[in-house]
């Protein structure tokens, strides 16, 4: 089974700072880690390989430093790593990112399953995984908490819902995004770390992917960020007291005042 895991390097904090002028994330001076949800994707990929054989290739788009994240993925059990890096990719929104990753996957060639984390903790959009599937024109299932069964052509998974879960079957190749309930990522092994140090990381730029400059990066990103802000914390609820008719009166009055009704 040929498995591709897409990962992203993100700032090592959930307290992401935003530059108020450019509306972009402040990355300077913040240690980088593998996006936590992607760690579950790597672990699931490695477990699948341990179960069914095959290879796990990790793929990321990012600056040259993103190589660190790829090496870490190898120390956690991935076999190969591909970095898509080019100045032209800078400023990509989720559309351009999905497109570029999809081109990278096409260049890798053969695959049975693509695994992504459900979302990245910096942007939190959860769009890139599904976007890749659309560009590749393959089925995808998001928010997977368990792979029940997988063979050469068929996949049966449990998709986490707000209440309960759905069981979904899909043919392969397919893309899934995973939630943290799916597994507990292992720690690196010493042999993995030694492999990671020696591993050759494949790096592809714009030319290697054979795409035009205006189809990637900022020019190809339709998203316009108007404003980024932290939503105000939800206030605590209010409990109405009194007899039932009194409570109903108070409630209706309040709803009218708040222009809900």
């Amino acid at each position: 089974m040929k498995i591709i895991v897409c990962i992203k390097q993100v700032p090592a904090t959930t307290q992401v700072k935003i530059n108020p002028e450019t509306n972009t994330l402040v990355r300077e001076g913040v240690e980088s880690i593998i996006n936590p949800y992607d760690a579950y994707a790597i672990e699931e990929g490695v477990r699948l390989r341990e179960r069914c054989g095959g290879t796990v290739t990790v793929l990321t788009m990012g600056p040259p430093q993103a190589e660190t994240a790829l090496r870490e993925a190898i120390s956690l059990g991935a076999d190969e790593a591909v970095l898509l890096s080019d100045r032209a990719f800078a400023g990509s929104d989720t559309w351009a990112t999905s497109y570029t990753l999809a081109q990278g996957i096409k260049k890798i060639g053969d695959f049975d399953l693509i695994v992504c984390g459900k979302q990245a903790i910096d942007g939190d959009t959860a769009q890139v995984g599904p976007g890749i599937a659309e560009f590749l024109d393959i089925p995808f299932v998001a928010y997977i908490r368990k792979i029940e069964e997988i063979d050469d052509s068929l996949l049966r998974v449990e998709r986490l819902m707000d209440e309960g879960y759905e069981v979904i079957e899909s043919k392969l190749p397919a893309l899934i995004t995973v939630v943290k309930e799916i597994n507990e990522p292992r720690l690196p092994s010493l042999r993995g770390k030694l492999n990671a140090k020696k591993a050759e990381i494949t790096s592809w730029n714009l030319k290697d992917l054979g795409v035009t400059e205006d189809s990637v990066g900022l020019p190809a990103s339709p998203t316009k960020v108007v404003k980024i802000f932290t939503p105000p914390p939800r206030g605590s609820g209010e409990t109405l007291t009194g007899s039932t008719p009194e409570i109903v009166d108070k409630l209706v009055a309040q709803l009218k005042q708040d222009r809900v009704v």
Binding site: R186, L187, P188, S189, L190, R191, K193, L194, K197
Partner: protein, 384 residues
């Protein structure tokens, strides 16, 4: 301080530290309280390739030596001295095979230990033979293709949990200390059982039990080295593993200093953090200095052992002695710095002080280490 670790040694230290922080610190108090063997953590150590650091690559290990084992032991001990002894005692049980095993014995026993699938243990001590190991009463009598073992070993670390046991027994009592031999015995063999699990002051998650032999038949191919070499096997083994106890002591002490330092900066009395009082500062300074000195001695000794030096008994005893005494002092001072809080189970230094004590006792008490050092000094002087 920079000890000029190779890149691989740094990886070992960093990975052991990560395991200690993420997997051991959160459960150490509970393991201690429940006296529960840390199998989960042993599994993590195995999956991280930490169990075969000192075992050659041909037998599935990582090809390092005593020094690599010390680096990992130190980091694990920094979080929990109890988990560390479960880990390190497997090395103690393995070194006899590593040093004296023939090819067949090594191929049979080392790979499973290197992968962490099995743990090992070392059985020398008996109720009437502690410091005076020459007094052991367990016998091994040749009978056809077998030796028949009878007797009881006491206080054996990893007893009941390990699969592979290296055991010293008398094959010829008349010859005294030249009449002992070492055997590899497997858990599950008929006539081999375990006594009660001891309740201890410290390192409480580790298992300490009797090994009971009642007409236990051990195949002759499981004799290590030759008949009569038993004590040589034991002594050469301890030469290689005492730096590991030193590393355990350095780690426990470092963990105690970490706690004392962060507490001293937080705790306010008389309107100031207690870290601003010179009495506390001096204690911290002495603790840090003693730890660094012990670490330097342990590392230097471990490297000396790995260099293949012939006679390492003296330095090996020195580093165990110095580090263990240091550890007892530093952990006691850590409790002192935390005051009444330090005496409470809620804070980790109470356990660290309990765990520290064993380092002065096992693998030869510190009195015995001094005997070893002094004897060697006198011998060296006399031969000049």
């Amino acid at each position: 301080m920079d000890y000029f670790l190779t890149e691989e040694q740094q990886m070992i230290r960093d990975l052991a530290r990560q395991i200690a922080q993420e997997k051991i610190v959160p459960v150490r108090a509970e393991l201690d309280e429940k006296e529960e063997f840390p199998w989960e953590i042993m599994k993590v150590l195995a999956e991280s390739d930490m169990c075969g650091l000192y075992i050659p690559e041909v037998y599935g290990g990582m090809g390092g030596g005593c020094f690599e084992l010390c680096l990992a032991t130190e980091e694990i001990s920094r979080a929990c001295g109890g988990v560390a002894v479960c880990y390190a005692a497997s090395g103690l049980g393995t070194y006899p095979i590593l040093l004296f095993g023939n090819e067949a014995q090594k191929q049979k026993y080392l790979p499973d230990i290197a992968s962490g699938k099995k743990l090992a243990a070392f059985g020398l001590t008996e109720s009437e033979a502690g410091s005076d190991a020459g007094g052991i009463q367990t016998t091994a009598v040749a009978d056809g293709d077998h030796y028949v073992l009878n007797g009881t070993k006491q206080w054996i670390t990893n007893g009941g949990e390990a699969d592979t046991y290296t055991v010293v027994a008398m094959t010829d009592k008349v010859k005294g200390s030249r009449g002992a031999s070492t055997f590899i015995v497997e858990k599950g063999w008929e006539g081999f059982s375990f006594g009660k699990k001891e309740k201890k002051m410290g390192i409480r998650c580790s298992s300490t039990t009797e090994l009971i032999f009642r007409n236990c038949r051990v195949p002759k191919e499981n004799l290590l080295a030759r008949e009569g070499m038993g004590f040589i096997v034991a002594m050469k083994t301890l030469d290689c593993t005492r730096p590991g106890i030193g590393a355990q002591a350095v780690g426990i002490a470092q963990g105690a200093l970490d706690e004392a330092l962060s507490y001293a900066r937080r705790r306010v009395q008389f309107g100031k953090p207690i870290s601003s009082f010179q009495a506390i500062q001096h204690m911290l300074a002495d603790m840090a200095t003693q730890i660094e000195a012990a670490r330097a001695l342990v590392y230097a000794t471990a490297r000396h052992v790995d260099s293949g030096a012939r006679n390492v008994s003296k330095v090996s005893a020195m580093c165990k002695l110095f580090a263990a005494d240091m550890c007892m002092k530093v952990t006691t001072d850590a409790v002192q710095i935390l005051g009444g809080y330090g005496y409470m189970r809620e804070y980790p230094v109470e356990k660290m002080m309990r765990d520290a004590k064993i380092t002065q006792i096992y693998e030869g008490t510190n009195q015995i280490q001094r005997n070893v050092i002094a004897l060697q000094l006198i011998k060296e002087s006399a031969s000049k």
